[in-house]
Symmetry: C2
Subunit: 534 residues, 2 copies
Amino acid sequence: VRNIALIGLPGTGKSSVGRRLAEILGWPFLDTDELIESRYEASIHDLFRSRGESAFRDIEATLLAKLTRSGRGVLATGGGVVVRESNLARLRQWGWVIALVARPEVLAQRLGSADHLPLVASDNPASSLARLWAERAPKYLSADLVLETSTLDVDDIVRRILGFLAEREELEISVSTASTKYPVRIGVGNLGLIGYHTLFTGCTGLAALVTTPSLDRRFGDSVRESLRAAGLKPTTFLLPSGELAKAWSTVGRLYGRLLQEGVDPSCAVLAFGPEELGDAAGFVAATYMRGIPLLRLPTGLLAQLDSCIGGKVALNHPRAKNLIGTLHHPRLVLVDVSLASYPGLRALRAGLAEAVKYAVIADPTLLEFLEASLNALLQADPTALRELIARCLAIKARIVSADEHGEGPRLALNYGHTFAHALETATAYRRFPHGEAVAIGMTLEARLGCVLGITDPQVLERQTDLLRRIGLPTHFSGVAPAKLLDALLQDKKRRNGRLRFALPTRPGSFQLLDDVPPRVLQQLLNPDSPPPAP
Amino acid sequence: VRNIALIGLPGTGKSSVGRRLAEILGWPFLDTDELIESRYEASIHDLFRSRGESAFRDIEATLLAKLTRSGRGVLATGGGVVVRESNLARLRQWGWVIALVARPEVLAQRLGSADHLPLVASDNPASSLARLWAERAPKYLSADLVLETSTLDVDDIVRRILGFLAEREELEISVSTASTKYPVRIGVGNLGLIGYHTLFTGCTGLAALVTTPSLDRRFGDSVRESLRAAGLKPTTFLLPSGELAKAWSTVGRLYGRLLQEGVDPSCAVLAFGPEELGDAAGFVAATYMRGIPLLRLPTGLLAQLDSCIGGKVALNHPRAKNLIGTLHHPRLVLVDVSLASYPGLRALRAGLAEAVKYAVIADPTLLEFLEASLNALLQADPTALRELIARCLAIKARIVSADEHGEGPRLALNYGHTFAHALETATAYRRFPHGEAVAIGMTLEARLGCVLGITDPQVLERQTDLLRRIGLPTHFSGVAPAKLLDALLQDKKRRNGRLRFALPTRPGSFQLLDDVPPRVLQQLLNPDSPPPAP
């Protein structure tokens, strides 16, 4: 998110609004007048008197140049900062320029005895302010956002600014299903706007924040602050990290805690965390009191560009992952791109593996984008990530809208996952992080496609190149091929005897294929055994 | 269900079809020729020879008169039974008359050497059979159902007969919701047709019968037999009786067992039992593998006339009943009226209390029906019960269709239940069976309506009279009124501060009322304290 600079006449509330806004967003608060006063150990009034306005404006301009080079946060500026056009140009480049304005007589009343203000006559502040307004109004009114504050209090103003940020800072895509429609807002640092968004989805009262202990430690306070700022009452519920969040016993306790805290269908569940947490909290939202509103705040690139939409929620059973589940669409998905690589590089890699899948099966231009932007993506560049997430989600939204329950085109999303799943099962989910399993799975399936003459060998080549650049493996070791084949055939048995592959043809296209002969699979997994007959 | 008499020429398969049909329906199988042979210790052929056809027909007619007075089951008759019109008249009164017919040459081929048949010439059976057919065809063709069996095997014929029974024997009502539409079939003894119905809802393969141990002991075999007869493979899963079925831990194990047995979304869950079992099995069907088809086979009048439709399914949490739930509409509801009073009179009474509710709030003619038919209903008269169930379900279906999620008109279904729930809570669900709590609750709420001038006192009077005739209490004792008031106010707190009553006005109409002053409630519960100011 860009920085925020507040401009306006004295008395418009720049400092109090700036301070509150910074608090909610978790950003530093900067105030040019305060910084100058502390640097020069003198009040602005005294500096004006001792050095004259022009010298003061030089000091102010120098500070501003420095702040806009290296500073970050919410900045409250002195009222006269707009007098120099160069100052304004710097601020515009640095962030959003927001002007707070009010009628001079309102300002005069707010300021009371105005003897500390250099350009305001203490005997008639209203007329001084009216004169300043007449001079500067064109500058103030050129701001990105102008708020008339005469009848607003600090909280009102802050809420309007948050709303403005939400609109300007985020890419929005829309997911439509047979039964509902909801927005996905993708931004940088927009987690701080969650309160505002929650309010806008129609939830009132309690906001049930469900998250992991580490996310809570790191971001819980700012999320709660944002919810409070929107007039909501946050209550926090912690689920363990990883698959344990989805255990029947874990979730059983959560229902009781929600009831104890008074959560009811007028409230919302905010599922803040990676895919497992989204699954568990989503399942609870689907079934607590026969369903309460859900907002998803996915963390980690995989959840952000893939699992946060589609509505699938599920719990694990000791005998099978995701055995217990349903569909429950969120009211809103809020993706904060700055959490794409949380808690680390592995999260980013797993998401990128999934992005390669989307590119290979559905979008040749996405494949080109990945090839061109991979370095930026691996460095978690927010702009590149935002585009990537929006593009992947748009592909998934299109497929899911066409096929909510997953019998048709949605099967294409399984590309790489048949082998990945077998690999994970054969190693009891211990050896391969999901991203690695998917990378190996896609490589095997693309090779299968090549062997069968379905897949353009160029697809395999470009895919392998991308996966290697991401730092993902393209072949497996340490698992007996026979064990992998067993897991595959087990899977087949569970699916009514059908083992269906979605295999790429040329970049961006796929074909569904049933009944691959086991000897072809065996040959694929044992490159040393003799090749199958054509 | 009415009895079944099979008529037809020799070789049409009356005995084998009848035997199989009786097996599936769990009915006795009767065979006139067999009974005569064993009574006279001689073959039919010999009796014909020794006594002549006319004397044989007398024996046959006497047996038939006796059987149709006191017998019960599937009856295979001798081919010539139709010769006497009085026999046919008796059979028609006794049950469905089903004729199996086939071309004479097919019959001749089936019979092979026909020397045991009295009226069939062994040297040219086809021509004898053609002659018999010409004589008797008008009689056979006057049956309730005529099946041309030349190209059908026994199982085909049985399946068609079951289909015929299903259509003739059941009242069907249809429940429509925003998302789906399903039939409710209400019959007597139609549990034996469940296999046929399950097949018709599109389920193939495994049928997961979920039931209680006592229902399984009593009816499990015949249900499984019916499923097998339809070509399905039944597997049985037992849940404990009562609320324990709805415990998180109980249900957690069920998912694992379903997986172990290979149940998948091509199968169906058959929830066979009272309301708690329907809730638990329904919840599992809603969430196992993200939802698999559900058929409800409610037992006990309460489940049959009320909870089996609407789609609400739920589990209990130690802190609250039904806390964990969702909506999952069944594909079919099959109500076997002969299970309305299972396991005993208490089940019947609880259902009748609910029926009084429907009458009072929604249908003045149902109130009259209850008053007129209560004796028959209390004796579990199937015809009266069938009408009652169909009428109550039709009312609920109408209300539910209009208001799937229960915010509007569905609230009328709460009549009597606000107080009933408080009474159950205040006594930890131990003291009052649900029917009694509802009876007391309706009395209190009708009295409240009278006090407030909303309810016609005649409604209270007729309601009280009905409840007493059912054998239900109309006032409570052994609970401190203060405790009951507490439970009410607790409930109010949980509902966002709203305590909403649906109160009858005149018979068949109601009015929603918020914010009854606590002192009015207090006075209602403490008839000895001074009356509230008007």
